[in-house]
């Protein structure tokens, strides 16, 4: 196990940021801490990195089976990458990456040549070779992010911790960097934990997604599992679009995702619901229909392919029948 956390609590004044976090993270995994703002994910990451500490006596953290709960950041050897990179503005790219090696005690500090080799090797790894003499201010956002990554890797961290790694970048760079980070992680193999509030990012990138809410872990699992089998109402609503439906004649609400609703012709006898198309949005490969149920007056979303839509010749105002394409989830929905 790379990281083992037991019953971690953290309180700020009266605010309980973490309310008993227990988690195990295996070697070489890429883990996403996913949750809305205020869910405690960044606090958790900072505690893992030794930049913050749990309430005294509340929780244990083991990294590579060593108890580091009381260990300050400087001794912990966790590579931390900050949301806004926190590069040293007055130092060149080279000096930034070399920092973690230069500050070592004389006995364990590599000599100048070795530091130089290591830094250049790291810069090559993050595809910034040739830019070592630049100042951080002369780099783009994506480049700064990669300098921060190289700087964190220079100390041979036991784990790599990334706080909202793509938060400050524009959409295009985000996507490129996301893909790059995925393959980069496969290459270096260091156990990596990153914080994000973007479910798409978490699902696309991570081996394991940890969904957090209000200082607690709601669910841990591979992306497909948390998406397909959400453990709690919160996870259901937070991951992907979802409708809350009540079956005719039944009191309980259940969740169903837009792509799990099959749209039929109005007269189809297998229909479970009847609805009218209020709005049709058909840019892209998937068409999104906003439907109003005829009996309960409730509005729900359904997805269908453009091909289906054209074949059925549907347009706004049409009446349709609906059928659930999958068995309804066993997760009881929260009444809203």
């Amino acid at each position: 196990m790379s990281i083992r956390v037991q019953n971690l609590r953290r309180t700020f004044g009266t605010f309980r940021a973490l309310r008993g976090i227990t988690l195990e993270i295996g070697d070489h995994q890429l883990v996403a801490l996913l949750g809305p703002s205020g869910s405690g994910k960044t606090t958790f990451l900072r505690i893992l990195g030794g930049l913050d500490f749990p309430d005294p006596g509340n929780g244990r953290i083991l990294i590579h089976d060593e108890d580091v709960t009381e260990q300050p950041a400087a001794d912990r050897k966790t590579g931390f990458v900050f949301q806004h990179y926190a590069l040293f503005n007055h130092l060149s790219v080279f000096e930034n990456v070399a920092f973690g090696l230069e500050v070592r005690a004389k006995k364990v500090r590599p000599d100048k040549g070795a530091i130089r080799d290591r830094v250049l090797e790291l810069l090559k790894l993050v595809q910034l070779d040739g830019l070592e003499q630049r100042l951080p201010s002369e780099l783009s956002g994506g480049q700064r992010q990669r300098v921060a990554l190289a700087r964190a890797l220079a100390i041979d961290p036991k784990v790599l911790l990334l706080d909202e790694p793509f938060g400050a970048l524009d959409a295009k760079v985000r996507k490129d960097l996301r893909r790059w980070l995925r393959s980069f992680h496969q290459e270096i193999g260091v156990t990596t934990v990153f914080v994000t509030h973007d479910q798409q990012e978490a699902l696309e990138l991570a081996d394991v997604v940890v969904v957090m809410n209000q200082g607690q872990i709601e669910q841990v699992g591979p992306p497909q599992e948390v998406y397909d089998r959400p453990a709690t109402p919160f996870v259901y609503e937070f991951l992907g679009d979802v409708n809350k439906l009540r079956k005719p004649g039944r009191p309980d609400l259940f969740y169903v995702r837009p792509h799990e609703i099959q749209v039929l012709f109005a007269g189809d006898c297998t229909s479970e619901f009847h609805a009218r198309i209020e709005h049709l949005f058909a840019a892209g490969p998937v068409a999104r229909l906003t439907l109003r149920l005829l009996d309960s007056r409730q509005t729900i979303d359904a997805d269908m392919t453009r091909q289906q839509l054209e074949d059925m010749g549907l347009s706004e105002g049409d009446e349709v029948g609906l059928k659930l394409a999958v068995a309804p989830s066993h997760t009881p929905a929260r009444a809203s």
Binding site: H84, A86, F88, V103
Partner: protein
């Protein structure tokens, strides 16, 4: 081009009036008095000017002024960095009170700042008897003058640093720590380079005030000629004795100090501006 459009431009007469008002004000209230200091100083010739500056009492006053500044400016640089560090980087109870206290020396009259020390350390003050018993002289001596100067000039460095350090946040320090740097390495390699221009700026302002301070130092000095007179006090003594050209000669040294400070300040602003633009 940076020419303002016609609609945002003020009419010619308004601009002329504003410019001549500003220039006129500067000439009458700043330039003429400053020039007259030098004119008055050299009235009896260059020889008399330098004689007035090299005379024993003047030399002792210059020496004392330099010693007071040499002690109080480094002290305030250290206090200032410590206070701004505490205020900008930590959150604790009573932080806003501390912030207000830092400004106290700006708020109270320098005379009061001096009197406080007389009340504490003077012969009839709180610690007076104890100090006398142990033969320690604070009031009417160098320690008292340093204390008064430190008090009066305390806000300069802290005031420069606090907003800057607050704006910079802690992330770079945290980054350094997580890379294995010690607290001292973090300060020297990360914090100090980030604040060095603001610190330098605060220090020269602090120095200018320390050398020029009159009120607080006047109260604690006792005006012993050749012993506890700083340069500003020496100017006053000469002036009261109708020794105008000598008074102005010494005053001109203080004015030169002011001009140097101004030049340095401009240089630092220019340097800091260059850096800011490159970020």
């Amino acid at each position: 081009m940076n020419t303002p459009s016609r609609s945002t431009q003020d009419p010619l007469w308004a601009r002329l009036i504003l410019i001549s008002l500003t220039v006129g004000f500067l000439v009458f209230f700043l330039f003429v008095p400053l020039a007259s200091v030098f004119a008055e100083a050299f009235r009896k010739g260059v020889a008399a000017y330098f004689a007035a500056l090299t005379e024993d009492n003047a030399r002792s006053a210059i020496r004392l002024t330099l010693s007071v500044a040499a002690i109080s400016v480094p002290l305030n640089a250290i206090f200032g960095v410590a206070a701004s560090w505490a205020i900008a980087k930590f959150s604790f109870k009573g932080k806003s009170l501390l912030l207000a206290l830092i400004d106290l020396p700006f708020a109270v009259s320098p005379v009061v700042s001096g009197l406080v020390y007389v009340l504490l350390f003077g012969a009839r003050g709180l610690f007076g008897p104890w100090l006398q018993e142990h033969n320690i002289q604070i009031i009417f001596a160098l320690p008292g003058m340093v204390l008064a100067t430190v008090f009066v000039t305390f806000p300069f460095v802290a005031r420069e640093l606090i907003p800057l350090m607050q704006a910079q946040g802690n992330d770079q320090e945290y980054a350094a720590l997580s890379l294995g740097a010690s607290g001292w390495q973090t300060f020297r390699r990360v914090t100090l380079p980030n604040i060095k221009w603001a610190l330098f700026y605060g220090v020269i302002l602090c120095n200018a005030r320390a050398m020029g301070e009159f009120g607080a130092v006047s109260v604690v000095s006792g005006h012993i000629r050749g012993e506890t007179n700083t340069l500003p006090l020496h100017v006053e003594v000469l002036y009261n004795e109708y020794n105008f050209s000598a008074a102005f000669a010494c005053a001109s040294v203080l004015s030169l100090l002011g001009l140097c400070t101004l030049a340095l300040k401009t240089f630092i602003e220019w340097r800091a501006g260059l850096r800011r633009r490159s970020h």
